[in-house]
């Protein structure tokens, strides 16, 4: 066990170093792209009526008159000191806005992720056990629908049915759970379910095929020969082995979900990181964009690391190979 822990620590450390290198490349890339894209946050902020003197004053104030490399290094060194810079549009410290917005997005993504994993795995197991039967066909059909239907379309449909026609759920909007927990949940129900639907379909299909893969394995027959009941055979022997490919997809999907809530946040008017990015892009507030992209990249790296650690927990062979 101690041996395993040391190996695990080594692996995590190695992955963190790798991630830092990846993230540095991300910063460089996003910075250069932002420099190349036309648009000036100062002009956007001050508006048409601004005098050249005013523009020059604010440009110098934000340091945008400095050489490109200097700006880049100021950003990076700032990051290491916990400073993301100041947003022109919001006239606030970016770190203050961005983490609050990230929190809101996670309030949407994490419940959606949990729902999609729990139900996706459960549906997949059921479909695999009832292979070829009606239940399997039904689950597979809905999984295909879930994967094929874009979530913004589902959002519009959901608003039409549940908010406008039935009137059981609000059309849009967000209330912080610290302010009013009940109302917060009430407003999050629809966006969470719609965010969950795509990944849920993916997990269902992945689990189904992974379960079918292991069902004819010799060790499953050994388990049957031991006299185990089917519940134990499914959970202890089949699912534990089927989890490895499922976990891979989980990592990818969680990373993707944080990035793709943009549309859901727009439709339901939720002040998450996605809608922040849209505002920032509209006003060419590139410091905000840069930091937002970096944050998403960090989220993806963390998900990948989590997947790798989970692999080791699930599969002792991988644990030893590392």
């Amino acid at each position: 066990m101690k041996f395993f822990k040391n190996k695990l620590l080594q692996m995590i450390l190695r992955r963190i170093i790798q991630s830092v290198i990846v993230l540095l490349f991300v910063t460089l890339l996003v910075f250069l792209v932002m420099q190349a894209v036309p648009g000036d946050p100062i002009i956007n902020f001050l508006g048409e009526a601004a005098t050249p003197e005013q523009i020059a004053y604010f440009t110098a104030l934000f340091g945008f008159d400095q050489p490109v490399l200097v700006q880049y290094f100021r950003w990076i060194t700032g990051l290491f000191q916990g400073e993301m810079g100041r947003s022109v549009t919001f006239q606030m410290q970016i770190s203050d806005i961005i983490f609050e917005r990230l929190g809101t997005t996670l309030l949407l993504v994490i419940p959606a992720f949990i729902i999609s994993v729990v139900f996706g795995v459960a549906f997949g197991v059921i479909a695999a056990l009832r292979r070829g039967k009606f239940l399997d066909s039904a689950v597979t059909f809905f999984a295909n629908v879930g994967m094929a239907m874009p979530n913004f379309w589902m959002g519009i449909l959901g608003i039409y049915i549940f908010a406008l026609t039935l009137g059981v759920l609000p059309v849009q909007g967000f209330v912080s759970p610290t302010q009013d927990l009940g109302e917060s949940i009430h407003r999050l129900i629809m966006p969470v379910i719609i965010t969950a639907s795509g990944p849920l379909a993916v997990f269902t299909r992945q689990t189904r095929s992974a379960m079918l893969e292991v069902v004819r394995q010799d060790y499953v027959r050994t388990a049957e020969a031991k006299g185990l009941d089917s519940r134990n055979i499914i959970i202890k022997h089949q699912l534990r082995n089927a989890l490895i490919p499922i976990v891979t997809v989980m990592g990818v999907m969680l990373g993707a979900m944080i990035g793709t809530t943009v549309l859901i946040e727009s439709i339901f008017v939720i002040p998450g990181i996605g809608s922040l990015m849209i505002t920032a892009i509209r006003s060419s507030d590139y410091l905000v964009i840069q930091n937002g992209v970096l944050l998403l990249a960090v989220a993806v790296c963390v998900c990948n690391l989590a997947v790798d650690i989970l692999y080791g927990v699930i599969d002792p062979r991988i644990r030893d190979a590392k």
Partner: protein, 321 residues
């Protein structure tokens, strides 16, 4: 009920797929006393494994089906028993050692837990008793018990088969079905494994059906031998009957001819010409007739019955006696 441990009568098993129906076992009779070892010999596809799986009711669901016959194990009607009853028997009254130790252990579970699992279902023991039973069993099959926290991939093939044997024996079943337990192993390990099986069988007084296509293996371990061909038994008797009896089924004779002898200079081993009959077709007469050098027209057309050539030595051939 009789005092027999296992009584199989007229067992027939089919595999039904979309393309064809395979008649895997046709009218099989086996009886076995407590503590007795039977060697079930025959080439690949003769229906040996299918017979064993039937005893445990482990035929692949939806495909394999028992079409006739009865199986009584320790006085219990296996084919007529409920799922729950079968669950209680599996691993406890009867257990199975599978052919390939590389794939028959769960790769993500410690070997200790895999042994423990069987005990937990069938025996009502305290935690410390369970743990001690696992340790004892591991030592008995020759693996130090401190390795119980390890996973299958950390063991060699022979060691894995020892674990599989430990799983099969830990509840001290009355019958073990060993399905080619040494085929997947190295020759040197094969000998070790056979010695281990023979020793454990003696110590625990367990009955056994040893499935193999290796007559040498049978000679080492078994008191009784049954030779299977194309889903039926063509010869049965004591090991002595089979190995040095006066009569032999032509198929058994062919099997013996295919064993190299060290004391003779043989350039080529004798082979049995031809193949087993297509298992998707029902055969009227003797199943071996097409490959038999003694066959006459009658053999091909009429079904053969078992003839008692010597007391206790049965041969399914018209030419005997």
């Amino acid at each position: 009920m009789t005092s027999k441990l296992l009584e199989i009568k007229d067992l027939s098993v089919e595999y039904k797929t979309e393309e064809a129906t395979v008649y895997a076992v046709n009218g099989l009779d086996i009886s076995l006393d407590y503590g007795q070892a039977l060697g079930l010999v025959g080439e690949t596809g003769a229906g040996k494994t299918t017979s064993a799986l039937s005893i445990m009711k482990l035929l692949p669901a939806g495909v394999g089906r028992v079409t006739s016959g009865s199986i009584f194990l320790d006085g219990v009607d296996v084919l007529g028993s409920s799922k729950k009853k079968i669950g209680e028997m599996r691993g406890n009254t009867v257990s199975m050692v599978f052919q390939d130790p590389m794939t028959s252990l769960n790769p993500v579970m410690t070997v200790g837990d895999q042994i423990l699992e069987v005990l937990k279902i069938h025996k009502n023991l305290s935690k410390s008793e369970l743990s001690k039973a696992v340790d004892d069993m591991m030592e008995m099959v020759g693996i130090p018990s401190y390795r119980k926290k390890e996973y299958p991939h950390q063991f060699s093939g022979g060691m894995k088969q020892r674990i599989v044997i430990a799983i099969a024996l830990v509840c001290e079943p009355k019958l073990i079905l060993a399905d080619e337990p040494t085929t997947a192993l190295d020759v040197t390990i094969q000998a070790q494994m056979l010695a281990l099986i023979a020793d454990l069988k003696k110590r625990l007084n367990t009955a056994m059906i040893l499935i193999t296509h290796d007559l040498g293996v049978v000679a080492q371990v078994c008191e009784k031998v049954a030779v299977m061909y194309a889903g039926e038994i063509v010869e049965s008797g004591t090991a002595e009957n089979i190995f040095s009896g006066r009569y032999r089924h032509p198929y058994t004779a062919g099997l013996f001819g295919a064993i190299p002898k060290l004391d003779e200079e043989t350039r080529r081993l004798e082979t049995i010409d031809g193949l087993m009959p297509d298992p998707t077709e029902k055969v009227e007469g003797c199943r071996f007739a097409m490959r038999c050098k003694y066959a006459e027209d009658d053999c091909i057309n009429t079904a053969q019955t078992m003839v008692e050539a010597e007391p206790g030595h049965f041969i399914r051939c018209a030419k005997v006696g």
